[in-house]
C-alpha cells in the first residue's frame, strides 16, 4: 500500500482573561444568567459603538511574545460580515490584513511548528436549542468576549503532534496569564485543517476543515478519523472534496457541513468605528518585562541551576500550578531537588486523577516538613505520615511532629542508646572484637530504630553509638 503524509494546520481560539468584554464594559464571565452581561454594544443595538479594551490587545501581545511573534506596530480591526443569530451586529469585529502578531513558532519535542499569526476578535453569543416549545434561544453573554485566534502553518503531521502542540500552547497561555483555556467551558477551541498526500510528494491534497473541537481527545480522534477517511478515498481512486466537516464526538465520525466552493464571502473591510491601534516599541518592551520565564526557559534553569533531572524539570514545568508550588516551596527550603522529589512522587501521585488539580498542602507546610527532615528532627518515614495527615486534614505540623514522636530529642536518643548498650553486653563485646565493627554498629542502629518505631534519625543514632562505644 502507498504511504501517505498527513498535513495539518490548526486554528486555535482562546478566550482572553480580561475582566470586561473587548468592546464594551460588560463583565467577561462564564456561567452567568443568560443575557445578564449585556449592553447596547454587545447586543448590537442601533447607534451603539465599540470602544476597544486595551487590556485585550496587551494579552494578545503577551501571547505573541511567548512564541516569538513579531508585534505589528499598527493593528487594524476589520468587520467580517455574515448573518447568524448568535452574531448580534451581523458582523464580527476581527482582524484580517493587520493582525497584532505575525509569525512565531512553538518548539515540540521533535519539530518546530511555525505560527502564521495571532489576531484579536470578539466571540459570538450562544444558541440554545430547547427541546420544548421555546424553540431556539440566544444567550448574548459570550458575545463580545475577547478571543485570540492563533493560526499555524501546516507543519503538523499527526494527531499526537497536534495534541502536543495544543498542550504546550495551553500551558504557555495559562502560564503567561493570557487565557485560562478551560476547554470544558469553551475557553479554548480548535479548528483543524487536514489533507493527505502520497509520502514525499510536494503537491498538497484537497483539505477539509473541522470546526470547534473542544477537547484534546476530540482533536486527536477527529484527526485520526479524517486522515483515514481521506486516505481511503484516495486509495479508491476518489477525490477528497474541499469542505467544512462537523466532528460528532459521540458517534466518532465526521460529516460534511458545507462545501467550500459555496462558502460565504465575508466582505471584510476596516471597521470605521475603531481607530487603528498603534503599538509602540516601549509598550511591547514593558509587556515583555512583565512576562514570567516560560516553561522551556524554566526547565533549563531548573536543570542547570538546581540540578534537577531533565525528567523532573519537564514534569514540573508542564503545568503552571506545579511551577508555582515549586517556586514557592524553594523559597522556604534550600534544597530544590528535595522539593522536586516530593512534588513528583508524593503530591502528583495524589492528584493524578483529579480534573481540577488541587494541592492540599501549602508550600509553607511542605517546606516545614522538608526542613524537619534536613535538621534530623524527623525521618522520611515520619515525614510521610505527617504529610498524609496534613493532606487529609490541614493539621498543625509542629504539633504533629511532637505527638507522632518525630521530635526525639538528643537527650532522649542518648538515653535510649545507653539503655540498649547496657542491656546487650554481648553485642558490645562483639563490636569491640570484630574486624568489621560496622556490621555490629548497624545492629545497634537497628535496635534504636526498632525501639522508636523508625522515628529516630538513623544517621545521628549511628554517630552517637559509635562515639559511646569507642570511648
Amino acid at each position: 500500500m502507498q504511504e501517505y503524509d498527513i498535513v495539518i494546520g490548526l486554528e486555535v481560539h482562546a478566550e482572553l482573561s480580561t475582566k470586561s468584554k473587548v468592546f464594551c464594559s460588560c463583565k467577561n464571565e462564564f456561567g452567568a444568567i443568560p443575557n445578564s452581561n449585556c449592553c447596547p454594544v454587545c447586543i448590537g443595538l442601533p447607534g451603539a459603538l465599540p470602544v476597544l479594551n486595551k487590556k485585550a490587545v496587551e494579552l494578545v501581545i503577551k501571547a505573541g511574545l511567548t512564541i516569538d511573534s513579531e508585534i505589528n506596530d499598527l493593528a487594524v480591526f476589520e468587520r467580517k460580515n455574515y448573518f447568524y443569530p448568535d452574531l448580534s451586529k451581523a458582523y464580527q469585529i476581527s482582524q484580517l490584513v493587520r493582525p497584532i502578531c505575525v509569525g512565531g513558532e512553538l518548539k515540540l519535542k521533535n519539530k518546530i511548528v511555525r505560527v502564521n499569526r495571532i489576531h484579536l476578535e470578539e466571540d459570538a453569543g450562544k444558541l440554545i436549542h430547547s427541546s420544548g416549545d421555546a424553540g431556539t434561544l440566544i444567550d448574548y453573554n459570550r458575545g463580545g468576549v475577547p478571543l485570540m485566534e492563533l493560526v499555524t502553518e501546516p507543519d503538523i503531521s499527526s494527531a499526537e503532534e497536534a495534541v502536543e502542540f495544543l498542550t504546550k500552547l495551553r500551558s504557555l497561555l495559562v502560564f503567561a496569564e493570557v487565557a485560562e483555556c478551560k476547554m470544558e467551558q469553551g475557553g479554548m477551541r480548535c479548528d483543524v485543517n487536514i489533507s493527505v498526500k502520497p509520502k514525499g510528494s510536494n503537491v498538497l491534497g484537497n483539505r477539509t476543515e473541522m470546526k470547534n473541537l473542544n477537547s484534546f481527545k476530540s482533536v486527536y480522534r477527529a484527526i485520526e478519523f479524517e486522515s483515514e477517511r481521506q486516505i481511503e478515498l484516495l486509495e479508491k481512486g476518489e477525490k477528497v472534496v474541499q469542505e467544512t466537516r462537523k466532528w460528532d464526538d459521540d458517534a466518532g465520525i465526521s460529516y460534511a457541513m458545507r462545501k467550500k466552493e459555496t462558502s460565504q464571502d465575508y466582505r471584510y473591510f476596516p471597521d470605521p468605528d475603531l481607530l487603528a491601534v498603534r503599538i509602540k516599541r516601549d509598550e511591547v518592551e514593558n509587556i515583555k518585562r512583565t512576562l514570567p520565564l516560560m516553561p522551556d526557559e524554566l526547565k533549563k534553569k531548573y536543570v542547570s541551576e538546581f540540578g534537577l533531572t531533565d525528567y523532573d524539570a519537564e514534569i514540573i514545568t508542564k503545568e503552571k500550578f506545579l511551577i508555582n508550588f515549586f517556586e514557592e516551596t524553594i523559597k522556604l527550603h534550600s534544597n530544590p531537588k528535595n522539593v522536586a522529589n516530593w512534588l513528583i512522587t508524593e503530591i502528583l501521585s495524589k492528584i493524578k486523577d483529579e480534573d481540577q488539580p488541587n494541592i492540599k498542602i501549602s508550600p509553607e507546610n511542605l517546606a516545614k516538613i522538608l526542613n524537619f527532615i534536613a535538621e534530623g528532627k524527623i525521618t522520611r518515614t515520619v515525614a510521610k505520615e505527617i504529610f498524609a495527615k496534613v493532606w487529609e486534614k490541614d493539621e498543625n505540623i509542629d504539633a504533629l511532629v511532637k505527638t507522632m514522636g518525630g521530635g526525639i530529642s538528643d537527650d532522649e536518643l542518648e538515653n535510649l542508646i545507653l539503655r540498649i548498650i547496657s542491656s546487650n553486653p554481648k553485642a558490645v563485646e562483639d563490636f569491640k572484637a570484630s574486624p568489621t565493627p560496622e556490621k555490629q554498629l548497624k545492629w545497634f542502629v537497628g535496635q534504636v530504630m526498632k525501639e522508636t518505631r523508625g522515628k529516630a534519625n538513623a544517621v545521628k543514632a549511628e554517630e552517637k553509638i559509635k562515639n559511646i562505644l569507642s570511648k
Binding site: G44, L45, P46, L49, R267, P272
Partner: protein, 477 residues
C-alpha cells in the same frame, strides 16, 4: 406672539428674562406642527413635551442654568432618545423604542432643552429629497410642490416652516446642508469627530456627523458648542478642545484668505448658482478678504468615491436589522433564512436596498480592490491635496447646490442624477472637514440658494465668523 420669527438666541433670552414660558413656547410650536401638518415634517410629537416644558419652567423659576433651558427642539428620526420610538423613517423600525440616549440627546437634556418630536427623513438617511421615507414625503417649507432636500428634510422644514427654533440633522454626504440650502436656513456638518456619533443610527460611520440646523449663524454657533466634545463611547470622537464659537465671531474679515478653487469654479459653470456665487466672492474681496487661487485636482472624484465608501459601510451597518432581536420580523418566516430574507425584503425600502446591494458588490471578493480599496486610496490622495490647499487659504467657498429645490418626483426615476445633487457637499464628508451652508441668493421663483463655507478640520470658528459677516452685510438678491 409669532415665536417662529425669533432666533434661538432671542428665545433663550426671552425665557431667561421670563418674558415667555417654556410651556407657552412649546405649545405654540406644537400648534404650529399641527397647523402645518401637510408639510409632513414631523413624524411624532412626543406626548411628554408639554410636561417637560413645565419642568423647565420650574427650573427657570428657580434660576437654574441651562443653555437651552426651556427651548423646544426637534430631532431627526435616527437620533436615539430613550423611551421614544426611533424609526429612521423605516417600516423596519416603525415601533422600535430607543433603549438609551444618544450623546447629543444627553447634551441637549443637560442644557435643559425640551425635545418635542422627531422629524421625517429619507429612510436610514439615504436620499436627498425625503421622498424615501416610509411615512410619506415631506414638502419644502417655501414651495409645497418641491422637495425639502434630504436626508434631513423634516428637520430643515421644521426650522424653516416655523415648527421649532432649532433642529438636529445628520450629514453623511450633505444631508444637513442640502436641505438647509433648499429651505433657506443655516446648517453645519462639523469636523468628523467633533460630535459623538454614539446613539445615532449609523449609515456610513466614517463620513457622518450630527449637525444643528438653525435660522441664523449665531444660533448655529451656539448650538455647535453645546453638542461638541469627546465621548468615551465613541472612539472616533475628538479630544480637540471645543471652542466658544460665538466669541469666534468678530464681525470682521480683514486678512481672511478665501480660497477660490479652480475645480469648483469649473463645476459651477452654467448653473443657476453661478452668477451670485461669483458675485459674492468678488464682494468679499471688496470687504477686505484676500482671494487665493487654489486647486483640488481630484475634486471631481469625490462623488464616485463617496458612492463606494458610503454603501460599503451602510451594507454592514444595516446588517443588524435582521428581524432576530428587535425590528420587524416577517410573519410568514418559517426558518432562520426566511426571517432574514423576508423581514429584510419587507422592511427596507427601494433606495436602501439599492445601496445595500451596491455596498455588497464593492466589498465582494474580486471587486474589493477595484472599488473599495481604490476609493480609499483616492480619499487619502484628496486629503493630501487638501493639506496643501489649506496652507494657502483659510476657507474655501462653494455653492451648496447648483440650483434651487427641485420638484417633487422629478428625480425619482434617475438615481444617478439624484446622487449628483450632492456633488458640492460630499467633498467635506470625504475629507472630514467642517462645512456650513447659509442662504445667500435667490434663484427660480425666489427660492433660496445656499453658500457653502469649508475650512480645515476644527476651524469651525473661522467658518462662523465669515458666515456671520456675510449674513449681516451681504444683501441677498
Amino acid at each position: 406672539m409669532e415665536f417662529e420669527k425669533y432666533s434661538l438666541l432671542e428665545l433663550v433670552d426671552m425665557l431667561k428674562s421670563k418674558k415667555v414660558s417654556s410651556e407657552e413656547l412649546t405649545s405654540y410650536f406644537i400648534a404650529q406642527i399641527e397647523k402645518k401638518k401637510n408639510l409632513n415634517a414631523v413624524i411624532e410629537v412626543f406626548e411628554d413635551a408639554l410636561s417637560k416644558a413645565k419642568e423647565a419652567d420650574i427650573k427657570i423659576k428657580n434660576n437654574e442654568n441651562g443653555k437651552l433651558l426651556g427651548i423646544p427642539v426637534i430631532i431627526k428620526d435616527n437620533i436615539l432618545y430613550k423611551g421614544k420610538v426611533c424609526s429612521c423613517s423605516s417600516r423596519f423600525l416603525e415601533n422600535y423604542v430607543a433603549q438609551y440616549n444618544s450623546t447629543v440627546v444627553e447634551k441637549l437634556l443637560r442644557e435643559g432643552a425640551v425635545i418635542i418630536g422627531r422629524a421625517n427623513m429619507d429612510e436610514f438617511a439615504m436620499g436627498g429629497s425625503t421622498e424615501n421615507s416610509a411615512f410619506g414625503i415631506t414638502h419644502n417649507a417655501l414651495d409645497y410642490d418641491r422637495v425639502p432636500g434630504g436626508s434631513s428634510g423634516g428637520s430643515a422644514v421644521a426650522v424653516a416652516g416655523g415648527l421649532c427654533p432649532v433642529s438636529l440633522g445628520t450629514d453623511t454626504g450633505g444631508s444637513v446642508r442640502q436641505p438647509c440650502s433648499y429651505n433657506g436656513i443655516v446648517g453645519i456638518k462639523p469636523t468628523y469627530g467633533r460630535i459623538s456619533r454614539y446613539g445615532v443610527v449609523a449609515f456610513a460611520s466614517s463620513l457622518e456627523q450630527v449637525g444643528p440646523m438653525t435660522k441664523t449663524v449665531k444660533d448655529n454657533a451656539y448650538m455647535l458648542e453645546i453638542l461638541s466634545g469627546k465621548s468615551e463611547f465613541d472612539e472616533t470622537s475628538s479630544k480637540e478642545k471645543v471652542e466658544d464659537y460665538l466669541s469666534a465671531i468678530k464681525g470682521k474679515i480683514q486678512g481672511l484668505r478665501i480660497g477660490v478653487c479652480k475645480e469648483i469654479i469649473e463645476s459651477v459653470k452654467g448653473m443657476e448658482v453661478e452668477k451670485p456665487f461669483l458675485e459674492v466672492i468678488n464682494w468679499l474681496k471688496d470687504q477686505g478678504a484676500t482671494l487665493v487661487d487654489v486647486s483640488l485636482p481630484d475634486y471631481n472624484l469625490s462623488l464616485a468615491c463617496y458612492y463606494i465608501i458610503a454603501p460599503a459601510e451602510a451594507t454592514s451597518n444595516l446588517g443588524r436589522f435582521d428581524g432576530i432581536k428587535y425590528s420587524r420580523r416577517s410573519e410568514d418566516a418559517k426558518n432562520v433564512d426566511e426571517i432574514y430574507i423576508k423581514s429584510r425584503s419587507e422592511g427596507f425600502g427601494k433606495e436602501v436596498k439599492r445601496r445595500i446591494m451596491l455596498g455588497n458588490f464593492v466589498l465582494s471578493s474580486g471587486y474589493f480592490d477595484a472599488y473599495y480599496n481604490k476609493a480609499k486610496k483616492i480619499q487619502i490622495k484628496l486629503k493630501k491635496q487638501t493639506e496643501e490647499l489649506f496652507r494657502k487659504c483659510d476657507v474655501v467657498l462653494s455653492p451648496t447646490t447648483g440650483s434651487v429645490a427641485f420638484k417633487l418626483g422629478s428625480k425619482n426615476s434617475d438615481p444617478v442624477s439624484m446622487y449628483k445633487e450632492d456633488r458640492f457637499t460630499i467633498i467635506s464628508n470625504i475629507l472630514g472637514i467642517p462645512s456650513l451652508t447659509l442662504p445667500f441668493a435667490k434663484g427660480e421663483k425666489d427660492l433660496p440658494l445656499g453658500l457653502q463655507i469649508m475650512a480645515n478640520s476644527f476651524k469651525e470658528g473661522t467658518i462662523y465668523n465669515l458666515a456671520d459677516f456675510i449674513e449681516n452685510n451681504w444683501e441677498v438678491k
